[in-house]
Symmetry: C2
């Protein structure tokens, strides 16, 4: 018994049948004597459908109006879920983001939560209501509606768990937990029982699509214990917390990200401050650079190679063509992928990197760039080899069952 926050994504509430299924999970939890706050996303493709409606009329619409439009999506799903819970005989009330006290800044489309005013939430819980809250949305100081950006419902759930000091925050998805690799692609991918916030953060950032990384950051900050589990199969999922048992594995997971472009600047005249000039230009246009590699070319020139999001590749090339002289050659390769391993254990195991490189070498996969942190190693390789690379690396590190 305690206070449990449960979050359900859009596919979990896509139609009437699934809404009833979620209502079943929620009321089961409530009937065991728990207080329950439920956070839901918009149903299925609602958000995409609304974006399409907007694009038909004005593809460059003000972001304030986009948020006014999109927040209608969760408004529909929370009221429907409340009706389903009511049908199962439990007291319930639905609250929009602003009714639940989500105060955000004014960056429409990707607002940050400033604070949650928990009065209404607390009052409804005190009345023994199950509270269904619209994820992904809030209100700014001008009383205008805002959205938290894609995956924002995870953040909403964790924020409520933190504000109400909930005993548990359960993130229900269409997978059964966090796996060592994408189970649709790697046969012997293993579900983890536990994982640390830092590891989860690396996995989320590196392309595992289970949890939104901002929500993991927030959970870490407030020490809110997360559980990732399936809304369709009622078995224990993966617990995300400060310290996690290692289960005889050196790493927690292998991830792959194809949303990568590799930009190369070759034969660059080596003048002082040139790197600064390049990267400050990119940063001024909000282009995030991930991995950077610098090497010496011929005749005192140098080569700079870096990765950005795939969309930003051609943009970066255009920006740099305007900035640099015509002698150097700027090319962009979007046919690359980033494969990474993540695990807090690798810090104390110096052989981890070489074990990964060996596995790739044995599969005849060429490494174009390498980047490491304390708990992860990433390599850039040909996009074509990505699936093979994940399998090879996974085989090398994760014992088969």
């Amino acid at each position: 018994m305690g206070l449990i926050v449960q979050k359900f994504g859009g596919s979990s509430v896509a139609d009437a049948e699934r809404v009833m299924n979620v209502a079943g999970i929620v009321t089961d939890t409530y009937k065991k004597g728990n207080d329950v706050v439920v956070v839901v996303s918009a149903q299925g493709d609602t958000t995409d459908d609304l974006i399409e409606k907007a694009n038909e009329i004005n593809p460059k619409a003000a972001k304030r109006e986009m948020d006014q439009l999109l927040t209608a999506g969760e408004q529909i799903s929370i009221s429907l879920l409340a009706m389903a819970i009511e049908k199962l005989g439990c007291p319930v009330i639905s609250l929009l983001g602003w009714q639940a006290g989500f105060n955000t800044n004014s960056i429409y489309g990707s607002a940050r939560i400033k604070h949650i005013k928990p009065n209404r939430l607390q009052a409804e819980i005190a009345k023994h209501n199950i509270v269904v809250v619209a994820g992904f949305q809030g209100i700014n100081r001008y009383d205008d509606l805002t959205t938290l950006g894609r995956g924002g419902s995870d953040t909403s759930a964790v924020a409520i768990a933190a504000a109400l000091k909930a005993d548990k925050c359960q993130i229900y998805t269409d997978v059964e937990g966090v796996y060592t690799a994408d189970p649709r692609k790697v046969d012997n991918a293993v579900k983890l029982k536990e994982i640390t916030y830092d590891e989860m953060l690396e996995l989320a950032t590196l392309g595992a699509q289970v949890l939104n990384n901002r929500s993991v950051e927030m959970a870490k900050k407030y020490g809110a214990e997360l559980e990732v589990l399936s809304s369709l199969n009622p078995i224990p999922g993966t617990i995300v917390k400060e310290a996690a048992k290692m289960e005889k594995m050196l790493i927690r997971g292998v991830t792959m990200d194809k949303d990568v472009a590799l930009v190369s600047i070759l034969n660059l005249q080596d003048t002082p401050g040139i790197a600064f000039k390049i990267f400050s230009k990119l940063s001024s246009k909000n282009i995030n650079v991930d991995i950077i590699l610098q090497s010496f070319g011929r005749d005192g020139t140098k080569d700079i190679v870096f990765t950005v999001n795939k969309d930003n590749g051609p943009v970066a090339v255009e920006l740099l063509k305007g900035l640099l002289d015509d002698d150097c050659k700027i090319v962009c390769n979007t046919e690359v992928a980033k494969v990474s391993i993540v695990g807090a254990g690798m810090e104390s195991h110096p052989g981890t990197a070489s074990k990964m490189f060996e596995a790739l070498y044995e599969s005849n996969i060429n490494i174009q760039m390498i980047s490491t942190s304390e708990i992860k190693i990433s390599v850039i390789i040909d996009a074509d080899s990505a699936d093979r690379a994940v399998s090879a690396v996974h085989r090398a590190f994760i014992p088969g069952e």
Copy 2:
């Protein structure tokens, strides 16, 4: 130049093309130097679609949650219309009912506006924004969303016109104004240039579906001049105001309403207070009785006949069977219609009623009941004869063109 409130119904904003059409009307008005507040309903069938979604899950859902659900409809249409206006180059902002200051009571599903807090509306107008407001919705003292009931967007528009002392309130519909009869059914129906609030109120109550009658009441109360006109054909419509010129016609219109049931109680023992007993029972179950006729039957018994909404007919019969003794006979006839004529002029023309009855007699239509007020005469006839009756009466009163 002045402040103009414009209201567009759901069919006027049903798709992207129509939304752009409405944006054109609005921006034309704005570019002529007017301040413009636009009130819109939910797009096309959105409200019905949402009701269907709810019924699939829980047909008896709490009305509070129904309102939470339905208000999403106008949220979508206001943001889309704002995007369309933005595209046409005018400054614009959309406001939900609560953002526009619509404070209502807590009768979910058919809330009444208590007052409008005009601060935000005034501030946006002062910034020279076109303001697009969600019709049909408001907020109660608990910060919960409410709806004003079907046709509520008309009321929203008039309420804004009254609160802001607008110079004009234009109600755009899919017809070109108020007609002397339904132009789809009566060939020589004439569009009225002007009509009084009282006449419009009778027409609206008696089945003309141009304006919601609560909105006419409110316009009358605050002296807000209304214009009913077409969003597809840009010609002058019908002005609704305190005093209207008569245009050589004795009546303003002929209406027909098939949502009527005739309940007859025959051979009722004539005990004191029996009529009170019957009608207080009906009123306690919120059944509104329209026309009542009482006559003497055989052997000291009496007959009471009255009309209610079609749905309430069988309900009334059941209630009365429990209340009255078995000697009397209670029957319900739902195959009836009410045909009415409306016009302030009839007060001073005693021959109006007989002229109407003559027209029906000449068409061989039997009158079952009659009800009159200062500015209207209604008759109950067989539903089968209703269309013929409207044509006959219209022919007798309205000069052909």
